[in-house]
């Protein structure tokens, strides 16, 4: 059984169909890159997978349980799905350590001591053990995004959704964030990332999904997608002629 089963997922805002019947199965340990033009529905697709957007129809099954509208069930499910955002969205009033320790303490009800110990391990893992007392605004963009990754990891997710996590970074800071993601991939984390980093997608991902006009237009291993694109839309997107 696939870890993530998405079938006939649709999302419409009024008459505008943003996602048109998307079906996709993802196995444990897969690293999937989602590429496509802006407006092709990539981010909306990702946000439907942890309930930040409510699908108009279709089903999402994560590790055997259905994503539903019920707030309680949704909370349960979100514990399994971590999300990292383009704008980091760290809590500006908390230190790096407390950003990471907050959810373990209040959501999974760990003691303050246990939550902080866990948070230290996670910050260590993203290479920021030294900066636990820093406020988000005292950190560089790349460091902030790594804290955000640590914050998601502290909830022990089985899937990590990354929504253009390097797009807001200065070019020289992209590498440090992608290295952390690479490490996670090597450890067997299941990753779904909307990304513009084609080299990264080619080197690290097991499959690449090309989205176009709200649909999965082409899907396959990176070798195939990047070297032998089949559809004219993908060829155009990749700049092949």
């Amino acid at each position: 059984m696939a870890l993530l089963e998405i079938s006939d997922l649709r999302k419409a805002y009024g008459n505008t169909e943003v996602l048109k019947k998307i079906s996709l199965d993802i196995d444990r340990g897969e690293v999937i890159a989602i590429i496509g033009k802006s407006g092709s529905g990539k981010s909306t697709f990702l946000r439907c997978l942890n309930g930040l957007e409510t699908p108009t129809s279709g089903t999402v099954r994560i590790d055997g349980s259905n994503l539903t509208l019920d707030e309680r069930a949704l909370k349960e499910l979100r514990l399994k799905v971590g999300m990292i955002f383009q704008q980091f969205n760290l809590f500006p009033h908390l230190s790096a350590l407390d950003n990471v320790a907050l959810a373990p303490r209040i959501v999974t009800k760990q003691t303050r001591y246990a939550a902080r110990a866990k948070a230290r391990i996670m910050l260590e893992k993203v290479g920021l053990g030294e900066r636990e007392h820093a406020r988000p605004r005292e950190l560089s963009g790349g460091q902030q995004q790594r804290v955000a990754i640590a914050r998601a990891l502290a909830m022990d997710p089985i899937i990590l959704l990354c929504d253009e996590i390097t797009s807001a970074l200065d070019p020289e800071l992209v590498g440090e964030v992608l290295n952390v993601v690479k490490k996670l991939a090597a450890e067997g984390m299941t990753l779904l990332m909307v990304t513009h980093e084609m080299r990264f997608a080619r080197d690290v991902c097991s499959r690449v999904v090309f989205m176009h006009a709200g649909q999965i237009h082409e899907i396959g291993p990176p070798g195939e997608i990047f070297t032998a694109p089949k559809t004219p839309e993908l060829k155009q997107f990749l700049g092949h002629n």
């Binding site: 942890n50 309930g51 930040l52 707030e71 909370k75 349960e76 979100r78 514990l79 799905v81 971590g82 999300m83 955002f85 704008q87 969205n89 760290l90 809590f91 500006p92 009033h93 907050l102 959810a103 209040i106 959501v107 999974t108 406020r135 605004r137 955000a148 914050r151 998601a152 909830m155």
Partner: protein
């Protein structure tokens, strides 16, 4: 009775105590009720939201003077013997609560949506998110407008003189009627209001700078 300059001042200062007390009561009670109205206004329950909305529209959409009259004369008509201080406190509390709720709602809503998305995707419920993520940030934003409104409250207490509450304004008009020195008396009344309000603005400025230094964006 002979009114020297100092008897005028000392009597005005004694009356100013009641202006301060009424302002403080309004601030604490109005702020508490305002917080409840705010929570209802932003809750996910349609019912609570609309009750809060109706409350806010009612009290912001009618003059405070009418609310004071209704609290004083209206309740008396219904057979409740309401002293002036109680009617004044009641009307100001209900009136200020509607403004606090709206001022703070603006602060809550100006916390970027990315914050609530991050909180929700970490599995936090509405209450946990509000308490740990949204309110601490909204609090910082709320200080200048809250203290600004506190100044409005102090000045609004002057209206209660109309139902016979002896605050600074009422004392001013009484003394002016006895001394025939309206310019001196009302001049002093204005100075006293300024002495009450000015430190509030200064505190607001100070707190804003201090809080901005220790946290924030």
């Amino acid at each position: 009775m002979e009114f020297t300059f100092w008897t005028i001042i000392s009597n005005l200062i004694l009356a100013a105590r009641w202006t301060v007390v009424l302002s403080l009561v309004t601030f604490f009670l109005g702020g508490s009720i305002g917080m409840i109205v705010l929570l209802m206004r932003i809750s996910s329950s349609w019912f609570a939201r609309n009750i809060a909305k109706g409350y806010i529209e009612l009290f912001q959409g009618t003059p405070l003077l009418m609310q004071l009259f209704l609290a004083f004369f209206g309740l008396a008509l219904l057979g409740f013997d309401v002293p002036a201080w109680l009617a004044a406190g009641l009307a100001l509390t209900l009136w200020s609560a509607s403004f606090f709720a709206e001022i703070w709602r603006g602060c809550v809503q100006s916390v970027p949506t990315g914050q609530s998305e991050a909180a929700r995707s970490l599995g936090m419920g509405w209450y946990q998110m509000m308490m740990n993520v949204i309110f601490p940030q909204a609090l910082l934003l709320s200080i200048p407008p809250t203290v600004g409104f506190l100044v409005q409250i102090v000045k609004a207490t002057a209206l209660t003189s109309i139902i016979g509450f002896v605050d600074l304004s009422k004392a001013g008009s009484m003394i002016s009627n006895m001394t025939f020195e309206p310019f001196t008396v009302y001049g002093l009344v204005a100075v006293l209001y300024f002495i009450i309000c000015w430190p509030l603005s200064a505190i607001s400025y100070h707190l804003e700078r201090k809080l901005n230094g220790s946290s924030g964006n």
